[in-house]
C-alpha cells in the first residue's frame, strides 16, 4: 500500500482519488437517495433546479428526476468505463506479451492487426459495432474496448522487447528458470507500470465514448445515462439549459478526476528510487 500513500501525497492523486470516490459513492448510494426507476415520470415537467426540495436538480421534459438520472448515470458511466478499459488492457497486454516474446512472423502478424485497429478512429469503430450488433451494455463495452486495445498492446510489446535485453532476464535464464516463469515473474511486473498509466486515459476515453454513443441514441435505452440526458436536453437548450449542463458537468468532472488520478499514480509509481549507488 506504499504506492497509495505516495499517491495521496501528490495533489493530483489526492484530488483525483477524491473525485472518483465521490462518484463511486454516488453510484452506490443511488437507490438510497433516489429510490425507484430513474426513468419513471416522477413529477411536473421542466421544474427548475433548486426550486423544489423533492427534486433538488429539477426535472426534465417528461418530468423525470434529474438527480436520480445523475446518480444512476454515474453507475453506467463508471461501470462501462471501467469494464471497457479493463477489457482493452487485458487484451492489449496479452497480445503485446505474445508479440514481444514470440518475435518473428507471429510478432509481425500481430502488429499488423494492431495497426489495423489503430488506424480506425476508436469512436467510429465503436459506433459501427454498436449500430450493427445492438445496443446492450456488454456490446457497448466490447465496442469501446475494440477501439482502445491497440495502444496498450503496442506499449506492452515495446516494454517486453526492452526488458528482454536486460541482465536480470539473462540471469533468470542462467539460473534455469522456465520461460513461462520468466515471462510472468521477471518481465510482466516490470512491463506493467507504463501500461497501467495508460489505463487511466483509456477509462476517461471509455466514459466519453459511452456518453457520446448514448447521446447519438445508440446507448442502452432502458437505463439512465448522462449521454442520453444531454441529448434530451438539446431540444430545450435555450429555455432549460440545466438539463444538458448538469450531466455535461458531471461528465467533465469524471474525466478530470480520472486524469488527475492517473497523473498522481504516474508520479507515485515513478518515484521509485530506493537510493543506493
Amino acid at each position: 500500500m506504499n504506492w497509495l500513500r505516495r499517491l495521496l501525497r501528490t495533489p493530483e492523486g489526492a484530488a483525483g482519488l477524491a473525485i472518483l470516490l465521490i462518484l463511486l459513492l454516488a453510484g452506490l448510494l443511488a437507490p438510497v437517495v433516489s429510490p425507484g426507476d430513474p426513468l419513471r415520470i416522477a413529477g411536473r415537467a421542466l421544474l427548475a433546479p433548486f426550486t423544489d426540495p423533492a427534486f433538488p436538480l429539477g426535472t426534465d421534459r417528461l418530468g423525470r428526476d434529474v438527480l436520480a438520472g445523475l446518480l444512476y448515470g454515474a453507475r453506467t458511466s463508471l461501470a462501462v468505463g471501467l469494464a471497457a478499459a479493463f477489457s482493452a488492457m487485458v487484451l492489449g497486454l496479452c497480445v503485446g506479451m505474445v508479440a514481444g516474446f514470440a518475435g518473428g512472423l507471429i510478432d509481425e502478424a500481430l502488429m499488423r492487426v494492431v495497426d489495423a485497429f489503430q488506424i480506425v478512429p476508436a469512436f467510429l469503430l465503436a459506433l459501427a459495432v454498436v449500430s450493427t450488433i445492438g445496443v446492450s451494455t456488454p456490446i457497448i463495452v466490447l465496442a469501446i474496448a475494440l477501439g482502445t486495445w491497440a495502444d496498450p498492446a503496442r506499449l506492452t510489446r515495446a516494454q517486453v522487447l526492452a526488458i528482454r535485453e536486460q541482465d536480470y532476464v539473462a540471469s533468470a535464464r542462467v539460473i534455469g528458470m522456465h520461460p513461462a516463469e520468466i515471462a510472468f515473474r521477471e518481465i510482466l511486473p516490470n512491463a506493467l507500470p507504463p501500461v497501467l498509466a495508460l489505463s487511466a486515459t483509456i477509462v476517461a476515453g471509455a466514459v466519453l465514448t459511452e456518453a457520446a454513443l448514448s447521446f447519438l441514441g445508440l446507448g442502452n435505452p432502458n437505463i439512465a445515462t448522462w449521454g442520453s440526458m444531454i441529448a434530451e436536453g438539446r431540444s430545450v437548450l435555450r429555455s432549460a439549459s440545466y438539463l444538458s449542463i448538469i450531466p455535461g458537468a458531471a461528465l467533465a468532472v469524471t474525466v478530470l478526476g480520472v486524469h488527475l488520478f492517473s497523473e498522481g499514480l504516474g508520479k507515485a509509481l515513478g518515484d521509485n528510487d530506493v537510493g543506493a549507488a
Partner: protein, 260 residues
Amino acid sequence: MNDALLSVENLSKGFSSGARQVAALDNVSLTISAGETLGLVGASGSGKSTLSRLLLRLLSADAGSIRFEGEDWLALNSASLRRRRARMQMVFQDPLAAFNPLASVGAVLDDPLRIHGVAAKDRRPGEIAMLLERVGLPADYAGRPVRALSGGQRQRVAIARAIAARPSLLVLDEAVSALDVTVRGRILELLVDLQKEQGIACLFISHDLAVVRAVSHRIAVMDGGRIVETGPAAALVAAPQSDAARALVAAVPRLATDPC
C-alpha cells in the same frame, strides 16, 4: 587433457552488421580443470563477453563444441539444459541490472534453491541464511529489496545466488569492474575462499590484468576474437609473449610512489 571440467574446441561466432561480417569469436579453444581458475583477459571487443555468453548458452554458436562435465553442452535443450544449468553459473558485471528491480534478497536466493530442488520449502530460509553468511552478509538481509544494497553488497548477493545451486563452474564476467577499489579486494578474497572451500572452478573474465592475476591459476589472453596466449599466471605476467599481452601488462596503472 584427460577429463577437463570444461573443454571448448574451435568455438566461433560471427555477427553481421549490414554487409559486413564480424568474427566476434574465431576458433577459440580452451580447457578448465576442476577447481581451477582460468583468467581471461583482453581489451574491449576482444570477444571475452561473447565467449561468456556462448558458454552460458545465452547466444548460439556458429561452429565448435563445448564439453562440460563429460557431456556435449551444446546438444542439450530445453528441460535437460535447464536442469544442467545448475552446474554452470554466472556473475554479471552490473550488480544493479542483474536483479529484477522488484525482487528482495530472499526471493533472489530462493529461485535457484527452488528451481533445482536444492532444499525443501521449509528448509530454504535456513539455506538462504547460510548462503548470505557464506558471502559475508548478515542473514537478516533476506528481507531487504536488492535495490537498497550497495554495489559491493549486491555483488555478494549475486555470488550467493550463483553458488546456491552448487555449480562446478562459475563464470565471472567483469564481476568486480564496476565496484569501488576498496570493495574489489574483499570480493576477490571471497571468491578465492569459496574456491578453496568448495572446489568450484572459475572462468574470471576482465580487461584488467592485475585483477585477473590476483585470482587466476592460468591466464588466457584474447585479442580480435582469438586466444593469442595461454600460460600459468605468474609466468605470463612476468614474460608476456604476444603483443596483446604486452599491451595489457603495460597498461596496468601503477602507483607513482617511487622516488625519482
